[in-house]
C-alpha cells in the first residue's frame, strides 16, 4: 500500500506515536494547549496544571502506550507461534487467569492498597500460564502448538466459570469493580505501575525481537524451521513464556483490554507484510498509539463519565478493520 523502506515505516510509526502521545496528554476534562503541556512538564506555570500533567495525564498516557505495545507485540507473537490468525494475547488463558486473581482479591476484601489487585491478577495470569503449559506438556514431550491452543481454550473456559461462580456470591461493590476491571481501564495509572510494567516489557521486547527470525521460519512450518537451523522447541518455549509474561504484566495493571492484541498485528500485516522482524516492533508502536487514542476518546466523549476502554477499542477498531479487510481481502 505505502511503499517505504522498513526503517522509514518505523520512523513514521514513531512520529505517529509522538503525535498521539501529545494528544493524549492534552485531552481530558481540562483541555490543554501544547505550550501549557510543555510548561507543566518543565514545572512552570499554573500549579494545578502541573499537577494534572505530571501526576495524572503523563503517567496515564505512558502506561496506556506501554499496555498497547505489550498487547500488540504479544498478539503478534502468539499469531506467529500458533500459526493461527485468530490468536490474541488472551488465547492461552492469561487474561482469564488474571481475572480470577483480581476477582478473588476483590471478593476476599483484599483490595486495600492500590497494589493488591494488580499483584493478585499477575499471580493469576502466571498460574494460568503454568496450568496451560502443564496440560499441553502432559499430552506429549514436544509441546505441540495445536495441543497448546486447545489447552489454552479449555483453561480459559474453566477460569471463566470460576469467575462467574465468584461473581454470583459477590456483593454489588465487588461485582462492579470486577466487571470494570475485566473490561479494562488505565484509569488507575501511576508512575510506580509504569515502572512495574517496564520491568517486564523492556526485556520481553528484546527477547521477542531476537526471536523474530526464528518465528518467521516457524510460520512456514516447524520442520522447515528446524531444517533451516532453528532450535524449534527452545524458540517455542521462550516465545510462549515471554509473550505470556508481557501480557500478564499488562493485564495486571490495566485489566483485560480486548481487540488491540488481535487486530493491530493484522493491520500491520495488511499494510506491510508479515516479516516478524518488522511486524513485532511495528505492532508495538502502532498498538501504543492506538490504545492512547482509544483512551483519549474513552475519557472525553462522555466526560465527566469514562467509557470502558475495551468498548472504545472495539468501537473504533472494528469498523476500521472491516474497511481494511474489504479493501485488501486477498492479503489475509
Amino acid at each position: 500500500m505505502i511503499r517505504l523502506r522498513p526503517a522509514a515505516r518505523l520512523l513514521l510509526l514513531v512520529v505517529l506515536l509522538l503525535v498521539t502521545f501529545l494528544l493524549a496528554v492534552r485531552l481530558g476534562a481540562v483541555r490543554l494547549e501544547v505550550g501549557q503541556v510543555l510548561d507543566a512538564v518543565l514545572g512552570r506555570g499554573d500549579p494545578t496544571t502541573v499537577a494534572i500533567v505530571r501526576g495524572l495525564r503523563l503517567p496515564r498516557a505512558v502506561q496506556t502506550a506501554l499496555v498497547g505495545a505489550a498487547l500488540a507485540i504479544s498478539g503478534a507473537t502468539f499469531q506467529a507461534l500458533l500459526r493461527n490468525a485468530l490468536a490474541d494475547p488472551y488465547v492461552l488463558g492469561v487474561s482469564s487467569g488474571a481475572a480470577v486473581g483480581a476477582v478473588a482479591a476483590v471478593g476476599f476484601g483484599l483490595a486495600v492498597s492500590p497494589w493488591t489487585v494488580p499483584a493478585a491478577a499477575f499471580v493469576g495470569a502466571v498460574v494460568a500460564m503454568f496450568v496451560v503449559f502443564r496440560i499441553a506438556a502432559g499430552a506429549g514431550p514436544a509441546l505441540d502448538t495445536r495441543t497448546l491452543l486447545l489447552a489454552g481454550v479449555v483453561a480459559s473456559a474453566f477460569f471463566n466459570a470460576v469467575i462467574l461462580l465468584a461473581l454470583t456470591f459477590a456483593d454489588a461493590e465487588a461485582f462492579r469493580s470486577a466487571i470494570f476491571w475485566m473490561m479494562g481501564s488505565t484509569a488507575g495509572a501511576s508512575w510506580p505501575r509504569v515502572l512495574a510494567l517496564l520491568v517486564y516489557l523492556v526485556p520481553g521486547l528484546l527477547v521477542l525481537l531476537a526471536l523474530a527470525r526464528p518465528l518467521n521460519l516457524m510460520a512456514v512450518g516447524e520442520r522447515t524451521a528446524a531444517y533451516l537451523g532453528t532450535r524449534v522447541a527452545r524458540t517455542r518455549l521462550l516465545a510462549y513464556a515471554t509473550a505470556s509474561l508481557v501480557t500478564a504484566a499488562a493485564v495486571a495493571v490495566s485489566g483485560a483490554i480486548g481487540f488491540v492484541g488481535l487486530v493491530i498485528p493484522h493491520v500491520v500485516r495488511l499494510l506491510w507484510g508479515s516479516d516478524n522482524r518488522f511486524l513485532l516492533p511495528a505492532s508495538a508502536l502502532l498498538g501504543a498509539s492506538f490504545l492512547m487514542l482509544a483512551d483519549a476518546i474513552a475519557r472525553t466523549v462522555a466526560a465527566p463519565a469514562e467509557l470502558p476502554l475495551g468498548v472504545v477499542t472495539a468501537f473504533v477498531g472494528v469498523p476500521f478493520f472491516a474497511w481494511l479487510l474489504r479493501r485488501r481481502p486477498a492479503a489475509l
Binding site: Q79, A80, R83, N84, A85, G140, A210, L211, A212, R213, P214, N216, L217, A219, V220, G221, R223, T224, A226, Y227, L228, G229, T230, R231, R269, G273, S274, D275, A330, A331, L332
Partner: protein, 267 residues
Amino acid sequence: MGWRAANLVFRYPGAATNALDGVTLDVPPGLCTALIGPNGAGKSTLLHTLLGTLTPRAGEVWLESRPLAEWTRVAMARRVGVVPQGEDAPFPMAVRELVAMGRYPHLGAWRREGDRDRRAIAEAMRLADVEELAERSLATLSGGERQRARLARALAQEPAALALDEPTVALDIQHEMTIFELLRTLSREGRTVLLVTHHLNLAARYADRLVLMHRGRVAAAGTPAEVLVRERVEAVYGWPVAIVPHPGPGPDAGAPQVVALSAAGRL
C-alpha cells in the same frame, strides 16, 4: 557429504509395528540417491531420521562420518538443504522472502544480509528459475512454482547436500521434469542429492542409486538396473509389472522403466 545409517529402528507412538525395522544404508557423497517404495514403506520416516527431526529407538546415523547427535541444527543447515513436504504459511509472504530464509543458518538472529547473502539468494533463484516470481505472493503461485521456490530456499543455504521429500508430487510433466533435470545438474556439480519419490521411472533415470524400502526394511539397494528387477518390484508393490528399457532418444535411453500391467497380467 554423505549419510550412513546402521540398524535404525523407529516406531511412532501408539503404532503396533516399527516404521523402520533395522534399516542399514549408505548415501554416498556426490551422487543422487532415491528412496523408493510403496505407501507406508518408511521412506519419509527414514528421511526424517537421517535429518534428525525423528529420533530412532535404536541404531545410529552418521553425517559426514560424524554421529548425528554431534550436529547442531545450525551446523547441519549450513551443509544440508531440505525441501520438506506439506508447508503452508498461514500469512502472506513473497517468494524472495521465502528464499532469503535459506540464509538464516549463516546469519543467525540479528545479522543483516550482506553481499555474499544477496549473491547466494540471486544464484539460488536463478538456478531454480524463480527470478521472475521474486515479488509474487506464495499464495498466488502454482504448485510447480511453489516447489521451485522451496528448492531455491534450500539452494540459498549453499548446501553440500540436498534432501527432498517427494518434490514433484502433484506436478505436471513439464514442472516435474524441470525439477528432475535441475537435480541432475546439481548432482553433476558435486552435490549429494537424496530424495524420496514415488516416481520409479524418473528415479531410475535420474538417480545414481536406488534404495527400495518395504515394510520398514531395505528390500534392495544399488544401481537402478540392480534394484528394479521384475520379481522384486512385483513382490514389494504387490502388482504385476514389466521392466522395459527407456526408448530414448536422450541420455536416459536404456534405463530400466517399470510398466504396471493390468490385473490380468498376473496370469
